[in-house]
């Protein structure tokens, strides 16, 4: 186990390094004119472009440039040329909000998807199954920012059932915190509910024909116990892996659209606003942040998986 962890962490370090190179290539090397001009944003002033060129060392050779950029990212030296605020601080400030959104949504989508998927599999081929399949397909076909905006307008603004955007700190008032997050959680969860319930349905249908299920039935277990203790537990394994990866993806990127629509002021919205202004330093930092988070979570999921399933350690 120890060897597996070490191997996986070394591998992770390589991927992180590659991710940083790729980010660097996207922003500094893509051939389209002057990178300093691009960095300065929509309305660059001549003096600022000159200062940026010197600061980022765009005249140096490419290896020096890479190190300058990485140094700026990791020492928190990165400053937005649009708001003049340090990028690192803004990301740290937004992180609790993004995590609140992602954790709540992840729990919600997993719970609902298990209910839908299991029910769908039990009723396979019947009307309820077909109905849920169509609902799931509609769910994965809706852009989250569109359904989010409609929910915010009709349920929040028109009917007044929910707050119309905004965020309350958990430490301030946990109930109000959850109340403000119900709509964002739901909007973000819809896509994943559609997807997970379909995966779970097909997994359950595969597991139902396994020998151990027949054994369980033969020894006289009740149908409910068979479904939950034997079938569901075995169908969950691939889903739990996906869950870990998707959670990382949501924190890293999926939240960008949801946060913007509901005005949650997290890392995602910070990135979205920077994108809208073509403000390069925050986009660079959030891109790298996203990929790092995902690579890290991948490694954690793999290690947990190896702990649960010894066969994987030997591969």
């Amino acid at each position: 186990m120890g060897r597996f962890i070490v191997r996986r962490l070394i591998q992770m370090t390589f991927v992180l390094f590659a991710v940083s190179i790729m980010t660097f290539l996207i922003f500094n090397v893509i051939p389209n004119g002057d990178p300093a001009e691009r960095m300065a944003g929509r309305q660059p002033r001549e003096a600022q472009i000159e200062a940026i060129r010197k600061e980022w060392g765009f005249d140096d050779n490419i290896f020096v440039q890479y190190f300058t950029t990485m140094k700026k990212v990791f020492t928190g030296d990165l400053v937005s040329y649009f708001t003049q605020l340090p990028v690192g601080e803004e990301i740290v400030k937004g992180l609790p909000r993004t995590l609140s959104l992602a954790i709540g949504a992840a729990i919600l989508w997993m719970f609902v998807a298990i209910c839908f998927g299991l029910y769908s599999a039990v009723k396979a081929g019947k009307f309820a199954d077909r109905f849920l399949t169509i609902i799931a397909l509609i769910g994965i076909s809706m852009p989250v920012f569109w359904i989010g905006a409609l929910m915010n307008h009709y349920l929040g603004y028109k009917l007044g059932w929910f707050p119309n955007g905004g965020y309350v700190e958990f430490t301030e008032d946990p109930i109000d915190w959850a109340y403000h997050l119900i709509l964002p959680w739901t909007a973000l969860a819809i896509l994943f509910i559609g997807f997970y319930s379909r995966v779970l349905r097909s997994n359950v249908l595969d597991t139902i024909n396994e020998d151990f299920v027949r054994t369980a039935r033969a020894k006289g277990l009740g149908e409910r116990q068979i479904m939950i203790r034997h079938v569901l537990r075995n169908s969950m394994i691939p889903i739990v892996t996906l869950w870990g990866l998707d959670f990382g993806a949501v924190v890293g990127g999926g939240a960008i659209l949801t946060e913007t629509v509901f005005d949650l002021q997290g890392v995602g919205q910070y990135a979205a606003e920077a994108v809208g202004q073509l403000d390069v330093p925050p986009v660079l930092a959030t891109t790298m942040f996203a990929a790092f988070f995902i690579v890290l979570l991948n490694a954690i999921v793999d290690i947990l998986y190896a702990y649960l399933d010894p066969r994987i350690r030997l591969q």
Binding site: P143, W146, A272
Partner: protein, 349 residues
Amino acid sequence: MATEPATEQVLQGPAAWEEEAGREHVHGLGPWRLGLRRLRRNKVALLFGLLFILLVAACAAAPVWADKVAHTTPDANHLSDTITVDGESKNVVGLDGVPIGPQWFKADGKFFLGADRNGRDIMVRLLYGGRNSLVIGITAAFMTTLLSIILGTVAGYFRGSSDAVIRAVLDVMWSFPVIILGTALGVALALGGLKIGPIHISGDSLVITILIIGLVYVPYMARPVRGQVLSLREKEFVEAAKAQGAGPIRIMFTEVLPNLASTILVFFTLLIANAVLLEAALSFLGAGVRPPTPSWGTMIDEGVDRIATAPHLAIVPGAMLVLTVLSLNVFGDGVRDALDPRAKVRLEH
């Protein structure tokens, strides 16, 4: 003496089988025939496939509607114009800045779905925007498919160092969420566009959006393609082709690609759906299609800003988008069930 009967039997074998098959009139159906037959039985999938074709046809006919019915262009402002509805005159955009809602055929097809804040005809913009969204979606899906086939087959068939390099690049790309990689490239290319040697693509061009979307989905398709090629290359028929002296290129086209065809077809359908969705998301964030060029993404973006006073501005393009993506998803699902039920296709990330 002992070997003689055996040789005879081998020589007789195929002829005997043929004769037998002819007697019983057994006609085996190829996998494509079987798939088509299964797809034909799936009425829901066919219905949604038809819906997609209708949507494409409607968007392709955008200039006809603009010219013959609405008598305007997608970019023409009618801010201070009035139209006649049921005999009375109405402002296209009210004095309070609120544009008129759907008129259906009350104004002879003008402003069928209302106007936006600049007094532009939404129906006309919706059709032209759909044309842009679909062109982006289909071209990007085509690009992803082509790149994935090339990278996947090269990596899977030749293995070794080319496999290691391709896999590493795909793995790194896969570490970025699709939307983040898309916006990062969008921001990097928005100012200045793309310059490769003599070719210069402006930052406002739809080509930039197509290239970005076509690129970011490559890992999601190339990895499964590589996996399939990896198992195909060990099959007996590939060995047989090699024994006959076929080179790698020939094996690729006659043995490997035909066996990948069903996976490719399923992926292509679902890729269009995802590419159209990603276009909308990128445009919503400001890293995709640039206004005033209409696309469903830019229209939703403009609509969301005005949702409090004129919700139809957001609802209409969003509904078209959902209908298109849904039709592709249902049809793609049907195709997969018919051709390749075991394929695990997943694109969202």
